[in-house]
Amino acid sequence: MNRYAVRIGSALALALSFQLGLFTFANAAENTAYEYDGKRVVFETLVQRSGGPAVSADDPGLQQLVRNAGGSLTWDADNQYVLVTFPGPTVISFAIGDAHYLIGSVSHPAAFAPFVRDGHAFVPLKDVLRALKLPAFSPGPSVSDVAATPAPPPPLFASPVPSPQPEQLAQVTGVDVQAQAGSVTIRIGISGNGAYEWHRLRVPDNRWWIDVHTARLATAPIDQNGGALVSAVRVRQQPADTVRVALSLPASEQVDVSPGNEGITIVVSSRVVAAATRGSGTFGSIVTANASLLASPGASPARYVPANPHLIVLDPGHGGSDPGTVRGGVQEKSLTLDMAMRVRDILVARGWQVVMTRTDDRDVFAPNDSARDELQARDDVANSRGARLLVSIHVNGYVNSGPHGVATYYYKASDLALAQSVSRRIASELDMNNNGVIKDKLYVVNHAAMPAALVETAYISNPDDFTLLQSGSWRQKMAQAIADGIVDYTESN
């Protein structure tokens, strides 16, 4: 009964909102066409807000506009960010709920805070245009006119992925195969941006292929021998604007995929790190990658090779049903989330891709779950994406007020350099007791496939540390030091 009442109320409120012109869907092309520099794009998802029109990050017109400007636009639902990335890298970022946007690390006021509706992120159009240094948007008839005529439901979300136009297709320009001792490197040259997906069949088939989507093969079909590790490399144009590069592998060799600005590099080697059966990502001016890793029985530990070397995973400790250590009304889970988001903002402004295990107050696995399930879910975020590294942020607690200061924990040998880099930066940038780098068998660090570290930033149980933890400027300094330590590590490892 209550549920129906809520639905009816929601419908009435929606209808009233339309009548009041709080937001409207624009469905007439003349209302939504945008012309600049002799080019014309049509925005198909405009929503009128009091501060101006909002446009979905999925909007084909907006996507085209950004591509024309040489950039790439992505909606990072995990982190509630809309990112416009340019080679360089320059990043324009809009955070959901924040009425500011960043160009690099410089904050600018936005007309209104970006918001999410039906899973789609909407950003202020005029701020996007301003950030892209394009002329302001001036629609034909007022968009509010549309409300006067019965508007059909917005049609465009039925196919959120726009059909590519021929000029939008990426071009596969060639394949270079280089055989070395113990490995074969295959470089797929691609101009433009797009997505890819790869698969492998298990023993005894051993076929491996990668599909480059929304792409055209700019050369004749290719058949090449790849030496002892790759018996054949075939490149073909497939239907549906897909280019397939298929490898015939004599055995179950390790295949690593690294997308980049100029295409995709595949390295086939005889070593075995883990058996993955599929993966996906994007190439071009924004690069992402992930792989579904399945533990390989008997696999020997080897140097970790990230599927996505540009991705950093941050783990704010605790959350949801688990407050962590508590003092008065201050909970560890809130402090860790605040600091992790600050670290994220700094890294994103520097052009890194960042995924957080949580972006709000929630359990990552499930409320009141076991510590193991919860911690493994956090590791899974990093492991499934093939991240470069994982940093978990915590607040320490003790039974008395004696212990104080920061400590950086590691466990695996591969974690040490990361922990040292972070600890060094904390020591140089914060005036506080530094307990240094400590080896400890912490689950989230031990079960991360990649280098990982856990920072216990301060003791909630110590009065002086507690004062620091409650200071926003101190948390910002801590976040800066952690981010600097991460970047230091990536520059030397």
């Binding site: 250590t325 911690l375 607690g397 212990p403 400590i438 989230v444």
Partner: protein
């Protein structure tokens, strides 16, 4: 005559040796264990030696090893005297049992050990326990149970208890 004297001396020597062996094997010898505690820096382990009861007449070596494991674990969990500054197990934590199987000691701790805290105290607590038990002759690994059950981690700092712990884990 000469031969019978030699046989007599040999028999006497054997009898004396047998009596000596019997007396020594049934005499209570003083026992002791080395117990460690962790300093609050989270890095240093401080040993101290405490006396333990001796092996009792007729007590098997295995039973005495069980006793020593339980005694040493209890001492490590209790910690040093109150005036010593050390990382201590949460109040109320008790050793429910300790058993020895080959080179592994399995210690069952009461649930109070899973007290919310941070990495420092969890690491320090278990470092002291593992250092103490691996100081026992022939022991190099310690498996931890909580109220009879295997647990993956502690809740506070998420210290991992999935697998038996060794000194090399620190």
């Amino acid at each position: 005559m000469r031969n019978s004297r030699i046989f007599f001396l040999l028999a006497l020597l054997i009898a004396v040796a047998a009596i000596a062996w019997y007396i020594s094997s049934h005499r209570a010898s003083p026992g002791e264990v080395t117990v460690y505690y962790s300093k609050v820096d989270g890095q240093s382990e401080i040993p101290w030696t405490i006396s333990a009861r001796a092996q009792q007449p007729g007590e098997s070596a295995a039973a005495y090893a069980q006793y020593l494991a339980l005694y040493a674990a209890s001492q490590a969990v209790t910690g040093p005297p109150p005036d010593v500054t050390a990382i201590r197990f949460p109040a109320g934590t008790r050793v429910l049992s300790a058993s020895v199987d080959g080179s592994t000691v399995t210690v069952d701790l009461s649930p109070e050990v899973n007290h919310p805290g941070g990495a420092l105290n969890e690491s320090g607590e278990f470092k002291a326990l593992i250092w103490t038990l691996t100081a026992l002759h022939g022991v190099d690994r310690v498996a931890v149970r909580m109220a009879g059950s295997k647990v993956a981690t502690l809740n506070g700092g998420s210290f991992e208890l999935d697998e038996p712990l060794r000194r090399s884990d620190w």
